[in-house]
């Protein structure tokens, strides 16, 4: 589910990151505002498939991404079906899935360094109010990079609890995960300094 750049020569790979980001934002807004009803959601689904085809990942790549999102689908759909009318639950889930799929195509076809430069450029006006645009870009990039690591910590905590005969649950997992993440953030700050980033 965590998406990173996949090298390729498709025309989507060639579009500058800023234009792609703008297009993605507009598409996500459109899906959020008008993505109701079978026709609109169907059109969104077709658009997602076309985006995967245009990026050179094919139907197989599209299917892999849907499979990677299976838990998100479950988490969205099951409570929705219990607490909301079924049409609303399906509509909400479908809209979210379409948004994530389009965002995935963006991540797959955009180098992080290009995204970083775009964010820094877009944030340049904030310099006037004392915000460093480079820091904003770096923080966003590190957030993307750290997600797999936090998931790994969560896996380690669950394994350690199971090894000691404790059934993991969200309460038991949260505290050690928080401690591990905070410890990591301290160590990571040191590593950043070692690589020449002043924090």
């Amino acid at each position: 589910m965590i998406t990173v750049y996949k090298a390729g020569n498709s025309w989507l790979h060639g579009i500058p990151a800023g234009r792609k980001l703008l297009a993605l934002t507009l598409l996500l807004l459109a899906i959020s505002i008008w993505g109701r009803g079978a026709i609109a959601l169907g059109a969104g689904a077709v658009l997602c498939q076309l985006a995967f085809l245009a990026a050179g990942f094919g139907i197989a790549g599209f299917a892999r991404q849907i499979w990677a999102m299976r838990w998100l689908l479950l988490v969205m759909l099951v409570p929705g079906l219990i607490f909301l009318p079924w049409q609303t639950a399906i509509t909400n889930t479908a809209r979210l899935v379409e948004c994530v799929l389009l965002a995935s195509v963006f991540s797959f076809t955009t180098k992080t360094a290009d995204l970083l430069k775009t964010i820094e450029r877009a944030a340049t006006p904030l310099r006037r109010v004392g915000v460093n645009p480079a820091s904003i870009g770096l923080v966003l990039t590190m957030t993307i990079s750290s997600i797999p690591l936090i998931l790994k910590f969560a896996g380690n905590v669950r394994e350690a609890q199971m090894a000691r005969g404790v059934q993991p649950n969200i309460v038991r997992t949260t505290v050690p995960l928080l401690v591990a993440s905070l410890k990591h953030s301290d160590d990571f700050a040191e590593a950043l300094m070692a690589r020449g980033v002043e924090v």
Binding site: I2, V4, Y5, K6, A7, K111, T112, A113, T141, M142, I144, S145, P148, L149, K152, H184, D187, F188, E190, A191, L192, M193, A194, R195, G196, V197, E198
Partner: protein, 225 residues
Amino acid sequence: MILLNSVSVTFENKVALSGVSVQLPQQRIGVIGLNGSGKSTFARLLNGLVKPTSGTVAVNAINLSIDARAARAQVGFIFSNPDLQIIMPTVAEDVAFSLRGKGLSAAELDSQVAEALERFGLTELANEAAHSLSSGQKQMLALCAVTIAQPALIVADEPTALLDAANSAQVQNFLLNEWQGQVVLVTHDLGLVETCDVLLRFEAGKLAEVGEPATVIANYKKSFA
């Protein structure tokens, strides 16, 4: 050249290093000592990650207390946990991150990154998620990301602690045989430092001994026998 003059480091009233003075012109420098002996504090001093409470630390005549940023540009640091060192999502991007701010064109950047990845056998993994690599591959990535910036000195704090024998040998071979700059290797693995040019032994925050690796290792073993 590494120069420490009467260096002491105190963390919240606890003395981590006390009165360390040493001059190290040698190329391959090993550092050993028990846990809490001060060897990691010594390593961190060399990159300005830890500031001396008193005394001065200089690397290639740059005083770290005066210009830590300039000194850091000369000193690459390798941590025992390679996960810590990954900043960017993919392997190639993480290596390229080390060259930010150098004013290179995109073509120059790509070429230097490709060359560095090839040297460390990471070319096939260039576009993989950096955190998905094995520990050995991550440590090679860390070495690649550090060396591409061409530091004068590499400080490696237990770089093989989480590696298997094969990966450990690969890291050892690079640091002690291939790397042409100065290297400080902090480790508990005595086999790793026996071919160093000089070995430092720390004990209870003090520099207990500096000398030939064979002699220092023998004395170290006696100290806890």
